[in-house]
Amino acid sequence: MSPASLAAELCERTLARAGLTYLAEPGDPALGALLGICEPEEILAAIKADMLPGTGPGCGDSPASRAALERALGRWRIRLPKLPSAADIAGACRDGIRLVCPEDPDWPGGLDQLGPARPYALWLRGNTDLRHSCQRSVSVVGSRAATGYGAHVAGEIAADLAERGWVVVSGGAYGIDAAAHRGALATRGITIAVLACGVDFPYPAGHAELFADIAAHGLVISEWPPGCHPARMRFLVRNRVIAALSCGTVIVEAGERSGALNTARHAAELGKPLMAVPGPVTSAQSAGCHRIIREWGASCVTRAADIIDLLSPLSATDAPAPAGAGSAGAGSAGAGSAGGRGPATLPGPGPTSPAWDPALPYDDLDADTTRVLDAFPARGGAGTSTIAVDAGVDLDTVLRCIGVLAGYGFIERGDDGWRLRRPG
C-alpha cells in the first residue's frame, strides 16, 4: 500500500491530531483548552493560517486569555516547518507504528480524567489493544538508580501481576522500570512502556532490545511523534500518562527527589490507588516510598496479591476461573466457605468436626478429593494404599488428590506418612 492511499485512509481528524503532536508540546494547557471547544482540524488550519480559530465560548473571552492564546499560537507556529506532510505521517504509520486518537475505539478512557492535560493523541508501537490492556493494569515505577533489592522486588511483582493477567505499565527507564518490564515479559505477560520521546527512538539506548521485546508482546507508547528526542521536562509531562493509564500506581523504590514521586503525585491527584513497596529504613533509595506512605497515605504493599486485593476490592483476585472449577469466591480464603462444602450428600468433617478449618477452601475440592480427605484418619498418618482402599478410589487418584490437599494445606507430611494438618 502506498503512503498516499494510506493517507487517504487516515481521516482528516486523525491527521490533524497527528499534526498537533508535531507542533505543540504535550500537556500544553492552551491547546488542551482549545481542543475542548474546537475541532482539531480547525486548530491545525488556524495555526497554519496564523489566525485564532473562531471565537467560541471560553475562547478568548478576556483580553488576558486572548493574549495567552496568541502567545501559544506563536509558539506552535515555530515548529510549522517541521510539520510533515500527510503522506509522511502515513509513512510513519507503517513499520508497526500507529496513532490512537480520543475518537478511536481503543482510546483508553482513563486518559480522559486528565481533562485539559489529556494527550492530543498517542503514538503506539505494537499490536496489542491499548484500551483493553489498560482495564486491568498497574503502573510499577521507581528510581533509575535501583538497588538489587528494588530491582528484584519490582521484577517479582511484575511477573506475578502479569501471570495473573494484569498489565504492567512503566516508563522504560533503567532500574525499577526495566525490572518491571522484564518481569512481566518473563511470564509472557503484557507490558506497556510509556516513553518521553518518539516510539522509534530508543532512549535509553541500552534498552533498544527491551523496547523491541515490549513492542512484540505489548506496547511502546508515547505522546511525542516518531523521531522526537527526549528532554528533561518531557519525563515529568509523561508521568501523568503513566498514572492515568493504569488502575493504580506502585512505587517500588524512590529517593527523596525521585521522578517516580511525580508519578505518585499524579496518581494521587487523579484519585487512583497509590501504593508503595517499603524498603530498609536505612536506605536512601526507599526514603521516597516511606514518605508517601507516611504523608500521602499510600498503601504499603509487598507482593502482587496485595496490589490485586487493593485494586479489586470485590476480590476478583484471579483471572476468570476455568469453567466448572469451584464456585464464586472460591479463590479467597475464608470468604463464604463456611456456608457449606461440596455436594451435600458427601459426609465429612462439618463445622463441628475437629479438622474443620474455616480458612481452607473446602468448596474448591471435587468429589474424589473430598472422599480422599475423609479417608484420612483423625489422628496419625496413613499410607497411600490404605487411603485408596478406604476412599474406594484408585492409586493414581489418591496421588493426585494428595497433591491438591497438600497444596491447599489440608494435609502435611509427618513421621508416619501423610496426615491431617491441625488448624492453627
Binding site: G383, T386, D394, L399, R400, V404, G409
Partner: protein, 543 residues
C-alpha cells in the same frame, strides 16, 4: 633406506584419534629410538616388540631403527601400539608387503612370545578408525566381538604376531595353528560364537533376555531380577520411581533405615527401557575404556546401574587418574542410574564435583597436554537417612539426634546439587495394614516398564528438533515459554506458592514432572490432575 607406515589409534577419554606410526631403518649404530611423546608403557614397547618379533621366528633388523608416532604433539599412552609398531618394523624390513598394511588399523598388545593380548578401549578405537575412513582393523581374538559392533568395518581377529604377519603376506594360517577370523562389523554375532571366550561371569546388572529366561528355567536357587512389585507398601515411592524413569528426573529419597530406599533404587533399572543402538554404543565405549565390559557380552544394551560406596574419591566418581584417564562412576552410569546411597556421607567435594556433569551431561578431565571428555548423562538417585544415627525417629526407637544435628546432616548435600533434583520423596516404615492394602496396587516391573517406554517415546516425539530427549533435560525457561501446562492447570500449585510451601523454582520442577505424569497417562498436555500429582510428589518431604 627403508621406510614403512602403519596406523593405530590413541585414546583421549573415549575419543580416539588415528596415529600414524613411521618406522625407518637406516645404516648406523644399532639402536631403536622411539619418538613422539610416548609414555612409560609405550617406551617399554621397544623391548616387548623386539622379543615378540624374535620369538615369532621373524628377523629383527640389526640396524638403526627410528620409530616415530605422529601427530607428535599428542601424548600417547598405553600398550596397544605394540602391534602397529611390530608390523611397521617388519614392513620396513621388507618381510611384509607394504600394500597389505595400507588401510589397516592395528590395535593390540604383544606378549614376549608374540601372542596378541586383548586391550581396553577397542570400541572407541574402532569407531575412530571408521571415522577416519579405515576399512579394516586388526585386533586380538578376544577383542574381536567388541570391534565387530561397529558397522562398516572389517575385523581381522588374530591371536599372534605370526598369524598377523601370515595374513598380511596373503598366506593366512601358514605358521600359526589358530585360524585368523574375519568378521563384518555391525552384524549380529551367532550365538555361542567361537570368539566368545572367557568365563562368562557377568554382573547382576547386565541381564539380557536370554539369560533371564535361563534364570527362570533354572528354577529356585537362580538369582531373580529385582521387581518393582516387591516394594510393597510404598505406593508413592513406586510412582516416583516410574516418573523418574520416564522423564529422566533425578530423585532424592529420604527415610529411616529399612524403609526401602536402596530397594527402590536397585529396582529402577528394571523399569528403564533398553538402550537404543546409539546409546548402547556410547555406553559400551565408556565401559570398554574402563575395562569393565563383561567378556561375553560386547554390547551393553541394559542401562547401567552404578552404586559407588560413600568413601569413593572424586577421581573415582567423575573420572581421572594419572597416565591413562579413566572414566569414573558418573560416566560409567551414562544413560543409566547413578545411585548415591547415604549421600550425606560422601565427601562434600565429591558431591559438588557432580554438579558439572549434571549441568553439561559430560565430564571434562583436564590434564597437561590433553583434555578428556566422557559423556555422563545419568539419572541421579540420592538416598539419605534423616539423621546421622540412622535410627528411626520416635521415642521408642532411640534416635536422640537434635533437630540441629539432623539439619546439619542433610545440609551436607549442597543446595546446588539438590537444585537439580526434580522429585523428592520421603519413605516411612511400612505398617501391616498398608502392606495388606497395597497388595492389590503393586504392579510388576514389566507393566511399569511398558508405560515408561511409551512415555519416553511421547516425550521424544514432542522434543524432536530440540537438543533434549527427556523432560528432565529441558531447561526451566524453555519449559515455561514453549511448553506451559493447560490453562488453569496450575491452580493448586499457585495456591501452594502463595502459601509459601513451594518456591518459584519448585513450580518449574512441578511443571516439568507434570509433563512426565501427562506422558505416562498418554495425555497431550499436563492437565490440572497431572499438575496436582506432580505437586504431591514435590510436597512429599518435610521441610
Amino acid at each position: 633406506m627403508a621406510l614403512a607406515r602403519t596406523h593405530s589409534v590413541a585414546l583421549i577419554g573415549v575419543t580416539g584419534q588415528v596415529v600414524e606410526i613411521e618406522v625407518d631403518i637406516a645404516n648406523g649404530l644399532v639402536a631403536t629410538i622411539l619418538v613422539g611423546l610416548p609414555d612409560t608403557a609405550l617406551r617399554e614397547a621397544r623391548d616387548r616388540i623386539r622379543a615378540a618379533i624374535t620369538n615369532s621366528g621373524e628377523e629383527w633388523p640389526h640396524r638403526k631403527i627410528t620409530i616415530g608416532l605422529s601427530p607428535a604433539s599428542l601424548p600417547k599412552r598405553g600398550s596397544w601400539f605394540d602391534l602397529a609398531i611390530a608390523i611397521g618394523v617388519l614392513t620396513a624390513a621388507g618381510t611384509v608387503p607394504r600394500a597389505a598394511v595400507d588401510g589397516v588399523i592395528f590395535f593390540g598388545e604383544l606378549g614376549l612370545d608374540g601372542r596378541l593380548r586383548p586391550v581396553r578401549g577397542v570400541l572407541p578405537a574402532v569407531l575412530a578408525a571408521v571415522d577416519a575412513r579405515f576399512g579394516k582393523v586388526m585386533v586380538a581374538r578376544e577383542n574381536a566381538a567388541e570391534a565387530a559392533l561397529v558397522p562398516g568395518v572389517r575385523v581381522i581377529a588374530v591371536s599372534s604376531l605370526t598369524g598377523a604377519a601370515d595374513w598380511l603376506r596373503g598366506t593366512p594360517g601358514l605358521h600359526d595353528g589358530l585360524p585368523v577370523t574375519e568378521l563384518e562389523g555391525g552384524q549380529p554375532l551367532p550365538a555361542g560364537h567361537v570368539l566368545n571366550v572367557g568365563s562368562g561371569a557377568r554382573g547382576p546388572a547386565h541381564n539380557d533376555a536370554a539369560e533371564n529366561d535361563a534364570a527362570k528355567a533354572a528354577g529356585p536357587g537362580a538369582v531373580a531380577t529385582p521387581d518393582l512389585a516387591e516394594l510393597l507398601g510404598q505406593a508413592m515411592a513406586r510412582r516416583a520411581a516410574e516418573v523418574c524413569a520416564a522423564g529422566g528426573h533425578h530423585l532424592s529419597l529420604l527415610g529411616p533405615p529399612g524403609a526401602g530406599k536402596t530397594m527402590l533404587a536397585e529396582r529402577i533399572p528394571s523399569i528403564l527401557p533398553r538402550l537404543d543402538t546409539t546409546a548402547a554404543l556410547e555406553v559400551t565405549a565408556i565401559h570398554s575404556v574402563a575395562g569393565t565390559l563383561p567378556p561375553r557380552v560386547p554390547l551393553l544394551t541394559d542401562p547401567p546401574f552404578l552404586a559407588p560406596h560413600h568413601t569413593a574419591t572424586k577421581a573415582a566418581i567423575v573420572g581421572g587418574g594419572s597416565g591413562i584417564i579413566r572414566p569414573g562412576s558418573a560416566s560409567l552410569a551414562h544413560r543409566g542410574v547413578l545411585f548415591l546411597d547415604e549421600a550425606p556421607e560422601f565427601a562434600r567435594d565429591v558431591l559438588d564435583a557432580l554438579r558439572q556433569p549434571l549441568e553439561a551431561g559430560e565430564v571434562v578431565v583436564a590434564r597437561s597436554g590433553v583434555t578428556a571428555r566422557f559423556p555422563a548423562r545419568f539419572t541421579l538417585i540420592l538416598a539419605a537417612n534423616p539423621c546421622p544415627c540412622a535410627r528411626a525417629a520416635g521415642p521408642a526407637e532411640g534416635c536422640s539426634c537434635s533437630p540441629t544435628t539432623r539439619r546439619r546432616y542433610l545440609g551436607r548435600i549442597s543446595g546446588p546439587l539438590l537444585d537439580r533434583v526434580d522429585v523428592k520423596i520421603e519413605l516411612e516404615p511400612v505398617g501391616r495394614t498398608e502392606l495388606l492394602n497395597d497388595r492389590s496396587f503393586a504392579e510388576s516391573s514389566r507393566t511399569v516398564a511398558l508405560r515408561v517406554l511409551a512415555a519416553r517415546e511421547r516425550a521424544a516425539h514432542r522434543l524432536r528438533g530440540t537438543p533434549w530427549r527427556l523432560n528432565a533435560e529441558v531447561p526451566g525457561s524453555e519449559l515455561r515459554r514453549t511448553w506451559p501446562p493447560a490453562p488453569g492447570a496450575l491452580r493448586v500449585v499457585e495456591r501452594s506458592l502463595e502459601r509459601g510451601q513451594i518456591s518459584a523454582r519448585g513450580v518449574v520442577k512441578v511443571i516439568r514432572v507434570a509433563w512426565t505424569v501427562a506422558d505416562l497417562a498418554g495425555r497431550p498436555r499436563p492437565t490440572r490432575d497431572d499438575c496436582d500429582t506432580a505437586l504431591g510428589l514435590w510436597l512429599g518431604v518435610r521441610r
